[in-house]
């Protein structure tokens, strides 16, 4: 006996992602999503009011018929169940926020509704990497490493070439690779470590310092340059600091002009809802899409397993054939 609103809410439970504009706090994003969802849920038609029977005595008949009192039965709606009296059916929904984005940065922000909060925890307990695009500028240094801060230092940047920048970036990547190994709790001399490293599974369990797993320059037009990076356990402040350090390493200074997250785990820009689409209908669509992709993944995984078995058999036959071939060649 679920009301339409409850049925709608069941459909809403799950994970989805939004595109957070720069200059808006994530709490504001969460709250506006929650109010929009509540508005959508409570707009669903409420069930009709139940009726109860009331006995009404008629006072004008009383004088005429002293013995038999006429009592009329009237069916009246129970007003205590009226939506104006009980208030809206849903008064708050649990909306959880994934990895935070500070007010300065923009990009993909994962949100969870209702039961999705559990899935959100599971999602972040796996080691998810995130993609960022950083807009940066040489020539100045500020106190908070972004272009909005107070300017602390100015410097020249004519001597910087793309080659020098790439060298610094690769050095940074190397340093981060080393920290990645120290945070993965495995003996580096073991066979297990080798096998995991081959599969690319080495990494920190849970908390660690921010680690960049990939870093490259995708645009270099001095004084502006754009970096693209993948990282683990980062904060946006840390990324701005990276830009600052790159500037110092190049005997210059640099500030971050924009931090934009383009991917968070499996959520990419394509799925992100921009703020015109933060309505219950659009969110529901996004969540349905998420559920369907999850199902497809499971199915494809199962399919992969069977195919992998087949291919391994094929490999065996191939290797046998090759042995045979080699044998022939030797002859």
């Amino acid at each position: 006996m679920a009301t339409p609103a409850i049925r709608m809410f069941r459909k809403l439970e799950g994970l989805f992602c939004v595109y957070k504009p720069a200059g808006v706090h994530w709490k504001l994003v969460r709250d506006s999503i929650e109010t929009n969802l509540l508005k959508g849920l409570n707009a669903a038609p409420s069930p009709p009011l139940p009726h109860h029977v009331r006995l009404l005595t008629q006072p004008n008949n009383e004088s005429e018929t002293s013995k038999g009192l006429t009592v009329s039965t009237v069916s009246v709606p129970v007003l205590s169940k009226h939506p104006l009296v009980t208030g809206p059916e849903f008064q708050h929904i649990r909306v959880g926020v994934g990895h935070r984005l500070d007010a300065f940065s923009s990009g993909v922000l994962v949100l969870a509704v209702g039961n999705g909060n559990k899935a959100l925890n599971d999602f972040y307990s796996t080691r998810v990497t995130r993609d960022y695009t950083l807009e940066a500028e040489f020539g100045t240094a500020t106190d908070n490493f972004t272009h909005t801060g107070r300017v602390v230092e100015r410097s020249t940047y004519d001597h910087i070439t793309q080659d020098k920048l790439e060298r610094v970036l690769s050095m940074l990547e190397g340093v981060n690779q080393k920290t990645l190994l120290t945070y993965s709790n495995i003996d580096m001399r073991s066979q297990e470590a080798y096998e995991m490293a081959v599969q690319g599974l080495l990494g920190p369990e849970g908390k660690s310092t921010p680690i960049l797993t990939g870093l490259r320059c995708i645009r270099f037009q001095p004084p502006n340059f754009t970096l693209e990076l993948q990282c683990l356990n980062e904060t946006q402040k840390y990324l701005c600091k990276i830009v600052h350090e790159i500037g110092l390493e190049l005997r210059s200074t640099a500030v971050c002009k924009g931090v934009r997250r383009t991917r968070d785990g499996l959520f990419t820009l394509q799925d992100a809802l921009i703020h015109h689409h933060w309505t219950a209908a659009d969110v529901m669509q996004a969540i349905q899409l998420y559920h369907s992709t999850k199902k497809n993944k499971k199915r494809s995984k199962a399919a992969n397993k069977t195919s992998a078995l087949q291919t391994s058999e094929d490999n065996i036959t191939e290797t046998q054939q090759s042995e045979v071939n080699e044998g022939r060649f030797a002859e």
């Binding site: 595109y19 504009p21 720069a22 200059g23 808006v24 005595t57 013995k67 038999g68 009192l69 129970v78 007003l79 205590s80 009226h82 104006l84 009296v85 009980t86 208030g87 809206p88 923009s106 934009r260 820009l269 992100a272 921009i274 703020h275 015109h276």
Partner: protein, 428 residues
């Protein structure tokens, strides 16, 4: 020990209960409480007795046991006597205590707690009520007054809606009782009202001044106190507004849009009107105009308005006549958030490079949302169409930039598709 017991029994022979059922119930509960109190020490004693039995020197333990019991009963007696002194109805109290005491003494003898078996027998007087099986006539049946099921105290109006005529009529008018009951004291105020004498005359009065029926729910939901305001006061305020040359339609629309308007005294209303006229150097006609368009100005505090005017003049650098023009076009700016106002002005003036006189010409811009303005401006800039100078070709008016909906903005100003605009927003 025997002597103390006898003493207690003596004290226990009090007069029989001659009170009603309720009072005996009360005492019974008291007895139960007493039993609870006395249980703990008996446990201690039984525990110690068991320990004593296990030891070899039986005589010694027996002695100790006796001593303990004596000590216990003595202490209990002392406790009882002090209680008795304190209590006003000493005899009943002591009697109940004796009962409790007996139950507590028993388990010490056979080292098992069997308090359930020891019921205190109270002889109750039969209550003078007719049998449930007796037949009664219809008149009697009618005359039996059924106590109403209304709870005396409740946190919500939900329990009263079906019983109270006022509340059910208010719900039918569309008043949001759920919102009202969250305000302090409003719920009890509404319950005390009588529909025919309190509510109906005020609604009729509102109807007389021209407020539409459909607005009643909105007005009462926002201002339930209009139902407690006296009719003379309401009439006086409406008369005052009419004397200031507000037409009756304007008064009706003002009342239906600003529910608190009629709760303010004539003096206060006059004060507000005078303030706006003097601060903005407006003619009487213009003052009436802005107040009629935004009647909320007469209800709110004047401090934020003063602050906003100062912000416009000093921080944003508008001239006095420019402010007057802006306020006449968009009175909402007077109650706008100061921080948002400066934020959006900063963007228009410093990022879009629009001079003051153009902003004055299109004051609606200041009323728009910062995020919306920013993404539109950046999109136009990306397309190379951000041109806000009226002397140059391809001039885009600020008015159209802000007020057009997304589809028309894309097709008419940006000459792009809506999907492109949405995709562009993901790159900001």
């Amino acid at each position: 020990m025997a002597s103390t017991c006898a003493q207690l029994c003596l004290r226990g022979t009090g007069p029989l209960y001659s009170k009603t059922v309720s009072s005996t119930w009360q005492y019974y509960t008291r007895v139960q409480q007493r039993i609870k109190v006395t249980r703990a020490p008996t446990k201690v004693i039984s525990g110690s007795s068991i320990r004593g039995n296990h030891t070899t020197a039986t005589t010694l333990t027996r002695l100790r046991w006796k001593q303990q019991i004596c000590f216990y009963s003595d202490s209990a007696a002392k406790y009882l006597t002090t209680e008795a002194k304190e209590g006003t109805n000493t005899q009943e109290l002591s009697r109940t205590n004796v009962g409790a005491h007996k139950t507590s003494l028993l388990p010490t003898r056979d080292a098992a707690l069997t308090t359930e078996n020891n019921h205190i027998s109270l002889d109750l007087d039969p209550v003078a009520q007719p049998s449930a099986l007796e037949e009664i006539s219809d008149e009697e049946a009618i005359s039996i007054s059924v106590p109403s099921a209304i709870p005396p105290v409740s946190t919500t109006l939900r329990d009263y809606v079906d019983k109270s005529e006022t509340l059910s009529k208010l719900v039918q008018l569309g008043v949001n009782l759920w919102k009202l009951e969250q305000r302090p004291n409003v719920g009890s105020m509404l319950l005390r009202l009588n529909f025919n004498t309190d509510v109906a005359p005020r609604l009729l009065f509102l109807k007389d001044i021209g407020v539409e029926d459909s607005r009643f729910g909105y007005i009462i939901s926002h201002n339930p106190f209009i139902l407690t305001e006296s009719l003379e006061n309401l009439q006086a305020r409406v008369n005052y507004l009419k004397s200031k040359n507000f037409s009756s339609e304007t008064v009706a629309s003002m009342v239906s849009r600003a529910p608190y308007l009629l709760n303010f005294s004539v003096k206060r209303l006059d004060n507000r009107l005078g303030f706006y006229q003097q601060q903005l150097n407006l003619s009487a006609n213009n003052t009436r105009n802005i107040v009629a368009r935004l009647p909320r100005l007469l209800c709110g505090s004047l401090e934020p308005v003063k602050e906003n005017l100062k912000v416009c003049e000093i921080e944003l650098g508008f001239k006095r006549n420019e402010i007057q023009h802006i306020v006449l076009a968009v009175p909402k700016l007077l109650t706008a958030n100061k921080r948002k106002l400066t934020e959006i002005f900063d963007f228009i003036h410093n990022t879009m490079k629009v001079p003051h006189h153009l902003i004055t010409k299109f004051p609606q811009v200041l009323n728009s949302k910062h995020l919306r303005l920013r993404e539109r401006h950046l999109f136009l800039e990306y397309l190379g169409k951000a041109q806000y100078d009226p002397t140059l070709p391809n001039y885009i008016t600020l008015d159209r930039l802000v007020s057009l909906p997304d589809e028309t903005f894309c097709t008419e100003l940006a000459l792009a598709t809506l999907e492109d605009f949405y995709l562009f927003q993901k790159t900001l």
